[in-house]
């Protein structure tokens, strides 16, 4: 069936061999994504955006608030890690672990908000659609750079399932943005935290995965 033997194929591959740069360590790529997220947050603050949440330590150290923040951070690290590892042969276990961490983070963040609503620690209403959309928009903006970095990595590596890799990169990047938003948003409403912070990565995955995955698949084929 085949026109040439495997040995001939090997000789041809060796003849056309070009030097390549090995992919960066996964840890370094993940750290770079987090740093990019922090740089975006700092840049936004320098450009007149909101600073860290005011009101003293007390406003930070409530269980629902911390659970939401920790959950978003886990979604960010887990999903970006899973996207990066999923594009490297032999790192499937790390990829699955990252996806599980992200899923746990999402559950934790939602549970944190629901806990706040159930116990009435903070007002559960009073949030209009505009405030929610503003926070979701900020999460998208702050998460864009880490998301694109993760996408660039998976295109350069050897991604097999561009759809899944892209969805994870989007979820991770926007979750990082949402964690930044959560740290700066003045709202005390757990309902707002769920709708505008925790669900921002989910919304991003729904809206952005199809076009970005198509783009990535095209780049991957060209590469």
């Amino acid at each position: 069936m085949t026109a040439r033997t495997a040995e001939e194929e090997i000789r041809e591959l060796a003849r056309d061999l070009a030097p390549v740069r090995p992919i960066p360590r996964l840890r370094s790529a993940l750290a770079a994504a987090v740093v990019l997220g922090l740089v975006a947050l700092a840049a936004q603050w320098l450009l007149g955006g909101p600073g860290l949440r005011a009101g003293g330590v007390g406003t930070w150290l409530t269980l629902p608030y911390l659970a939401t923040f920790a959950g978003l951070a886990l979604v960010a690290l887990g999903a970006i890690g899973a996207a990066l590892a999923g594009a490297v042969p032999g790192r499937e276990v790390s990829s699955r672990l990252g996806a599980r961490v992200a899923a746990f983070g999402l559950v934790l963040a939602v549970a944190g908000g629901l806990w706040g609503i159930a116990h009435g620690d903070a007002p559960a209403a009073g949030e209009d659609l505009g405030a929610c959309l503003s926070c979701i928009g900020r999460a998208f903006t702050l998460g864009a750079a880490p998301m694109l970095l993760a996408c660039a990595f998976i295109v350069y590596a050897a991604v097999r399932r561009p759809g899944l890799g892209t969805a994870l990169a989007i979820a991770g990047g926007v979750a990082l943005g949402a964690a930044s938003v959560h740290a700066t948003c003045p709202s005390d409403s757990p309902l707002h935290w769920i709708l505008a912070h925790t669900l921002a990565p989910v919304a991003a995955v729904i809206v952005l995965t199809a076009p970005l995955a198509a783009l990535l698949a095209r780049w991957t084929r060209r590469g």
Partner: protein, 170 residues
């Protein structure tokens, strides 16, 4: 592999030749039909070549290689499945309305005989059984010892090759 990443073709060729028996063994463990193994091995070699930059020296080589071989084999089999489904659906659309010739009647023209002889053994056998002897797909498949699907694909490819040969040589 690190030397290969640097562009050393001689070392790379040696490495791939050394890996070839391992790759063949791993592919043989996944694919039953020997005829398909060579295709998959070559596909694996190309995948390995394309993914060579994803190996990092601080990570063990074995799991990386096994993952590349596994992924390339799975991708190849999925692509083959898609091809088969496509070709079978084409076959169903254009089911040949063939009637076997009566005894004594000339079955094939000399041109067609020549074209048939130039097909591969598998394709020629499939075409002869289905279109010359007039067996059913199930009977022909049983006689050759392959699945009906595989026989239909061989026959379809054979007919396509015959058509191309006859068109080229009017």
């Amino acid at each position: 592999m690190i030397a290969a990443q640097g562009g050393d073709g001689v070392v790379y060729e040696k490495l791939l030749l050394e890996l070839l028996p391992h790759v063949r063994r791993q592919v043989a463990g996944r694919v039953g039909e020997p005829a398909e193994r060579d295709d998959i091995v070559q596909n694996v070699l190309i995948s390995l070549h394309r993914a060579r930059h994803t190996y990092r020296s601080e990570r063990p080589f074995g799991p990386w290689l096994r993952a590349v071989v596994r992924n390339a084999s799975i991708d190849w089999m999925r692509a083959r499945g898609r091809r088969l489904r496509h070709e079978l659906s084409l076959e169903e659309v254009a089911e040949p309305s063939y009637q076997a010739p009566l005894p004594g009647e000339d079955a094939l023209s000399p041109e067609l005989e020549g074209a048939l002889a130039s097909l591969s053994e598998n394709q020629r056998k499939a075409v002869e059984l289905l279109h010359v002897e007039g067996l059913s797909v199930a009977e022909a498949a049983e006689r050759v010892g392959v699945s009906p699907g595989a026989l239909k694909v061989r026959a379809h490819r054979g007919v396509r090759a015959l058509r191309a040969l006859v068109r080229r040589d009017p």
